[in-house]
Symmetry: C2
Subunit: 146 residues, 2 copies
């Protein structure tokens, strides 16, 4: 259930970009806001149902990514999952199940995130690469696949 706060932030962002926040797009955002991790077009379609045709779903995902509202995530062969961008959902990391492929968001306590940030800066500091962000994926077996 999209929080009113997030919804208002998205409204403003889309208005600034002259992109309409239509019914179909609201449905997509709502489905992603309820998920506890990134979801693919097919996974979303299964949840949303017929009300948003696949071709529209794909275009909505592309438009919302372009507007910076959604971020893509890659962890399975041949498909792209999307989630709310971090400025909406907060910085977090992912648990990736190597058995069933599901990806789950995980919040990292401030202290740990701080230490992680330092390590990343140390690593990137030694090479000619301008670090902008980092993504930590923890791979293993989820509760269902234990």
């Amino acid at each position: 259930m999209t929080t009113p706060t997030i919804d208002r932030q998205i409204e403003r962002r889309l208005a600034d970009a002259d992109v309409r926040y239509t019914r179909g797009r609201r449905v997509v955002i709502s489905a992603l806001a309820e998920a506890d991790g990134p979801r693919s077009a097919a996974e979303l379609s299964r949840v949303i149902g017929e009300s948003v045709p696949l071709s529209s779903l794909y275009r909505s995902l592309a438009v919302l990514e372009e507007a910076g509202v959604l971020a893509p995530h890659f962890s399975s062969p041949g498909l792209t999952r999307y989630e709310l961008a971090e400025w909406l959902s907060g910085h977090h990391h992912h648990l990736v199940c190597i058995c069933c492929g599901i990806v789950q968001d995980i919040e990292v306590a401030d202290g740990l995130e701080q230490r992680l940030q330092e390590i990343v800066a140390d690593i990137a500091g030694g090479v000619s690469f301008s670090e902008l962000n980092h993504a930590l994926e923890i791979e293993g077996h989820c509760a269902g696949c234990a």
Copy 2:
């Protein structure tokens, strides 16, 4: 240039799995050993040339992954890149250019890797998820895209 050591390790692993280490497969391994990061079938084909048809290249990648010699890597929409598995190349992380998409391996000094390991264990310790491995991707602009 595949080091003789790595080549011997692969020979043994494939022999154990009753999989032949054929010319085409050697070419693929050699190209990946020379790369400084994961490469897709198309990227490899560009380097290798006509001597290994795409259909064979794809099958070689699948066979070598199945045998545990190669590991897949996902960071770009709609394609899979491969690299030597970590038991061959050593544990490492990746720099991902958000501009051109190239992925580059990066070695992490033991001390940093140790601290990273601790953080990962701390994060995974709090949830019902059996941690097996971790992947840290540092996103930013590569030297070419600066």
